[in-house]
C-alpha cells in the first residue's frame, strides 16, 4: 500500500517503541510526547482540500499501533536489490570513516562534513534514480556522490585536491560535481543548491514540453537534499512555492538530523515538524524514519513516481541522525551523551 494513500492523519503512539524489532535507532522527537509540542491532528483544511500529509514512519494504518512492525511489512525488496542497498550503505560508511582517518592524520584539510548515520537517506533515494535523473546536495555530499555513481576513487582524490578528482581538485569536499552522473553539486552555503535543483527540474519539464523530447519513463527527476537548518531559509520556501506552482519534477528531501552545527532544530524553528510545510504550499509533506532504508525507499518510490508522471513536487522529511559532529573540526560539545535527546523521550 502506498505511503501516500492515507490521507487521514494518524496519531503517533505515545509509547517509546515505535519501531519495535528494528535496530535501536536514535531517539526521535516527533513520535513521542514532548512537553510543549503536542502532535495534534491537523485541523480540517480551511482551504477545503485535503491536506496531503502523512506520517509514514507509523504503520500505514494496517496493524494496531504498538504491535510488531517488522521489515517485511514494507515494500518488498529482492535479495539482489537488498544487496545493492547494503553495499551502498556500507561503502558510504567506510568511505566517511576513511575520510575521518585521513583528516585526523593531517592528510586532508579544510571543512569536511561526514555523513555517518544518515546513509539510509542517500541510499534509499538515490538507488531508485536513473542516470538521467539529477541529484543536488549540500556540503555533506560525499555519500550522495558515491551513491549516484561517482567512483569512490574520484571522490577521494577530490578530497585530497588531486587533479584526478572528480572536479580536478578545484572544488573539494563541499563541491562534488559530476556531469556524467548528473550530480549538480555540492554547495557550501545552505540552501544554495535548492534553487539550482529547481532549475534542473525546470529544465526537465522544459525539455518535455517545449523541446518535445519525451522519455518513455517519464520526466527526469531531480532530488534535492538539504538539512533541517535550511528549512528556515528563504530559498527553501521560495523554491517550494515555485516547484509546486509549475509542478516541477523535484523531490525536496530534508535530512533532519536535529542539529545545525550547534543549533538544535527545536531552538531554531517555530514549528519543528518540517513535513507540514509541504501542504502549506500545496504539495504532499511526508515524514519518514530516515534510519530505515526500506521505509525511505518506499516513500522515495512514491515521490519519484509522482514527479515522473508530472504530478509535481514532494517534500519528504527524513528523521535521521549524524553520528559525528557537524564537520571534522566540530568539537560537538552540545550533543554529549545524547542528553538533550533523552530529555524528550
Amino acid at each position: 500500500m502506498s505511503a501516500f494513500s492515507a490521507v487521514r492523519i494518524l496519531f503517533p503512539p505515545v509509547v517509546a517503541a515505535r519501531s519495535a524489532g528494528e535496530k535501536p535507532s536514535a531517539p526521535f522527537l516527533p513520535s513521542l510526547a514532548v512537553p510543549g509540542l503536542t502532535r495534534s491532528p491537523l485541523r480540517a483544511p480551511r482551504l477545503g482540500r485535503p491536506l496531503l500529509a502523512v506520517s509514514s514512519d507509523v504503520l500505514s494504518g494496517q496493524k494496531p499501533l504498538g504491535s510488531n512492525s517488522s521489515p517485511s511489512s514494507h515494500a518488498a525488496v529482492s535479495r539482489e536489490e537488498a544487496l545493492v542497498l547494503y553495499e551502498d550503505m556500507v561503502l558510504g560508511r567506510v568511505f566517511e570513516d576513511m575520510c575521518a582517518q585521513m583528516y585526523y592524520r593531517g592528510k586532508m584539510f579544510g571543512f569536511v562534513h561526514l555523513y555517518n548515520g544518515q546513509e539510509a537517506v542517500s541510499t534509499g533515494f538515490i538507488k531508485l534514480l536513473e542516470a538521467t535523473d539529477s541529484v543536488v546536495s549540500t556540503y555533506r555530499d560525499h555519500v550522495h556522490a558515491v551513491s549516484k555513481g561517482v567512483p569512490a576513487r574520484a571522490v577521494m582524490a577530490e578530497l585530497f585536491g588531486k587533479t584526478t578528482g572528480c572536479c580536478r581538485g578545484q572544488g573539494g569536499s563541499m563541491h562534488m560535481f559530476s556531469s556524467t552522473h548528473n550530480l549538480l553539486g555540492g554547495f557550501a552555503f545552505i540552501g544554495e543548491g535548492i534553487p539550482v535543483a529547481t532549475g534542473a527540474a525546470f529544465s526537465s519539464k522544459y525539455r518535455h514540453e517545449v523541446l518535445k523530447q519525451s522519455n518513455p519513463k517519464g520526466l527526469d527527476v531531480t532530488v534535492a537534499f538539504f538539512g533541517d537548518g535550511t528549512c528556515n531559509n528563504g530559498q527553501f520556501f521560495e523554491c517550494l512555492n515555485m516547484a509546486q506552482l509549475w509542478k516541477l519534477p523535484i523531490i525536496f528531501v530534508v535530512e533532519n538530523n536535529l542539529w545545525a552545527i550547534g543549533m538544535s532544530h527545536l531552538r531554531a524553528t517555530s514549528d519543528p515538524e518540517i513535513w507540514k510545510k509541504g501542504p502549506a504550499f500545496g504539495m504532499p509533506g511526508v515524514h519518514v524514519d530516515g534510519m530505515d532504508v526500506l521505509k525511505v525507499r518506499e516513500v522515495a518510490m512514491e515521490a519519484i513516481g509522482r514527479a515522473r508522471r508530472g504530478e509535481g513536487p514532494t517534500l519528504v522529511e527524513c528523521e535521521t541522525y549524524r553520528f559525528r559532529g557537524h564537520s571534522l573540526a566540530d568539537p560537538d560539545e552540545l550533543r554529549k551523551a545524547g542528553k538533550l535527546e533523552i530529555l524528550f523521550i
Partner: protein
C-alpha cells in the same frame, strides 16, 4: 544629413582606406583635414583607419553631434529600420529565441505584462508561458533556478526588474553563477544572461537608482557589458545569449527610449570590445552607458573651445578592452574617466588601476575620474543632479587635464 556627410567624406578624404568600406560617415570630422576615419565593417566591427596627416590644431568647425538620433557607429549599407532601445533589445532577444529553442526568459512580469520596460512584450504570446516565464517575487531563487537550468542545457535570460533587485540574487550570482564552472572542474558551463535596467533615473529614489556594476565586478567568473545605443543593445544582447559564459548585461532606465536606425541584416557585436564614439587627439574620455551622452554633450562645448576629445564607450565592463583603450592612451596621453558608478570601488577605479598598470609610461597627466558621489541618490531632482556627473564638470575636467 547622412548622405550629405557621406558624399563629403568621399570627396574630402582621398587617402582614406579604399580597401575599407565605410558605409556611414560618422559626423565626427568636417573639413578637409581628417585625422582618421571611423570604419565600420560589414560584420559590425569598428576599427580606425589612420590618416597620415595629423591635425595642426585647427579649429574644428563642426560640432560632434552624437545625439541619440545621429549614430556614429552603425552599419547602414541598407537603410535599415528605426527603433527604440528597448525594441532593439527585444529584437535581439526574439531573434535568438527563434534561432535556438533552448533560449528562455525568466523574470518578474516578463510574460503576460510584457516586461516592466516592455523589453519582452509579445514574446509570451509567441513562445508560451514556459519559455517566457513569469516568476514570483523571489530573485534569489529564480536566479538560482536560471543557473540550475543553464547547467542542465537551457540558455536562460534572467531579467531583474531593476538591477537593484538583483542584490537579492547576489548570493546566487556570486556563489553559483560565477563559481560553478570553476568548482565543478569545468564540467558545467553556465550560459546565462542576467540583464536589467540600472542607473540613476528621474527621481526614482535611492534604492531604485543603484549601480550594481561596481558590486558585481569582483565576482570571478562573471562577464559584464553595458549597452548604450539601440545598435549596441541588440548586438550585445545577441552576443551575451550566444556566449557560454555568464554575462551580466547592464541597461539604463533613461536610455530605453533612445531612437536609432539599425541595420536590417543580422549582426552580433563582440562582448569584449569597446566602441570608438568620437576619435580625437587631445584627451581620451572613457565612459559607458548613460554618461556617454553627457560626455558627448560636453564634447560639443569642448570642440567649440578648441579641444579635440577622443570618446570611447568602453561597453565591456569586465574585462576591459585594454587594446582599444591602450591605443587611445598612447595617442593622447591624457585620460578622463566619466562614469555613473560610485567613486568608491567603482568601475572607474578599477579602470584607472588597469591603465596605470599597463600604460603608465604613456601618461602625461594623472588619470582623472569623474564618478557619482558616494551618497544614496536623493529624491529631490536638484539634489539628484548633483550626485551625478554633469557635462559642465566634464568640460572643466578636460580643461584641467589639458593644461
Amino acid at each position: 544629413m547622412a548622405s550629405a556627410l557621406q558624399s563629403a567624406a568621399l570627396l574630402s578624404n582621398a587617402t582614406a582606406s579604399r580597401r575599407c568600406r565605410f558605409a556611414y560617415y560618422p559626423a565626427s570630422h568636417s573639413g578637409s583635414k581628417c585625422c582618421g576615419i571611423l570604419v565600420v565593417r560589414s560584420d559590425g566591427r569598428v576599427s580606425r583607419s589612420f590618416n597620415a596627416s595629423l591635425r595642426n590644431g585647427n579649429l574644428v568647425t563642426n560640432a560632434i553631434a552624437t545625439k541619440a538620433d545621429t549614430v556614429t557607429s552603425s552599419t547602414a549599407s541598407k537603410p535599415g529600420h528605426e527603433l527604440l532601445l528597448f525594441e532593439a533589445l527585444r529584437e535581439g532577444l526574439e531573434e535568438e529565441m527563434d534561432r535556438d529553442p533552448r533560449v528562455c526568459v525568466m523574470g518578474e512580469d516578463v510574460g503576460h505584462y510584457g516586461g516592466s520596460y516592455k523589453v519582452t512584450k509579445g514574446l509570451a504570446t509567441k513562445y508560451g508561458d514556459l519559455r517566457v516565464l513569469d516568476t514570483p517575487i523571489a530573485e534569489n531563487s529564480f536566479t538560482g533556478m536560471g543557473i540550475g537550468s543553464a547547467m542542465t542545457g537551457l540558455r536562460p535570460v534572467v531579467e531583474g526588474m531593476n538591477m537593484g533587485f538583483l542584490l537579492l540574487a547576489y548570493n546566487q550570482i556570486s556563489n553559483n553563477c560565477g563559481m560553478l564552472h570553476y568548482t565543478s572542474g569545468g564540467q558545467f558551463t553556465i550560459p546565462i544572461v542576467i540583464r536589467g535596467p540600472g542607473g540613476v533615473g528621474r527621481q526614482l529614489g535611492a534604492e531604485h537608482s543603484q549601480r550594481l556594476e561596481s558590486y558585481f565586478q569582483s565576482i570571478p567568473g562573471l562577464q559584464m557589458v553595458a549597452c548604450s545605443t539601440p545598435y549596441n543593445a541588440k548586438g550585445l544582447m545577441k552576443a551575451a545569449i550566444r556566449s557560454e559564459n555568464p554575462v551580466v548585461l547592464f541597461e539604463h532606465v533613461l536610455l530605453y527610449n533612445l531612437k536609432e536606425r539599425i541595420p536590417d541584416e543580422e549582426y552580433v557585436l563582440s562582448l569584449e570590445e569597446a566602441e570608438m564614439v568620437r576619435p580625437g587627439e587631445h584627451v581620451t574620455i572613457l565612459t559607458y552607458s548613460r554618461m556617454r551622452y553627457h560626455v558627448m554633450q560636453a564634447a560639443k562645448t569642448l570642440v567649440n573651445k578648441g579641444y579635440d576629445p577622443e570618446v570611447i564607450d568602453i561597453r565591456s565592463l569586465k574585462p576591459f578592452d585594454l587594446y582599444t583603450i591602450g591605443k587611445s592612451v598612447k595617442k593622447t596621453h591624457r585620460v578622463l574617466i566619466v562614469e555613473e558608478c560610485m567613486r568608491t570601488g567603482g568601475i572607474g577605479s578599477s579602470l584607472r588601476s588597469a591603465i596605470i598598470d599597463n600604460f603608465w609610461d604613456y601618461l602625461d597627466a594623472p588619470i582623472m575620474c569623474l564618478s557619482s558621489q558616494d551618497v544614496p541618490t536623493p529624491y529631490a531632482g536638484t539634489l539628484e543632479e548633483w550626485t551625478v556627473v554633469q557635462p559642465a564638470q566634464i568640460v572643466t575636467a578636460v580643461e584641467q587635464l589639458c593644461q
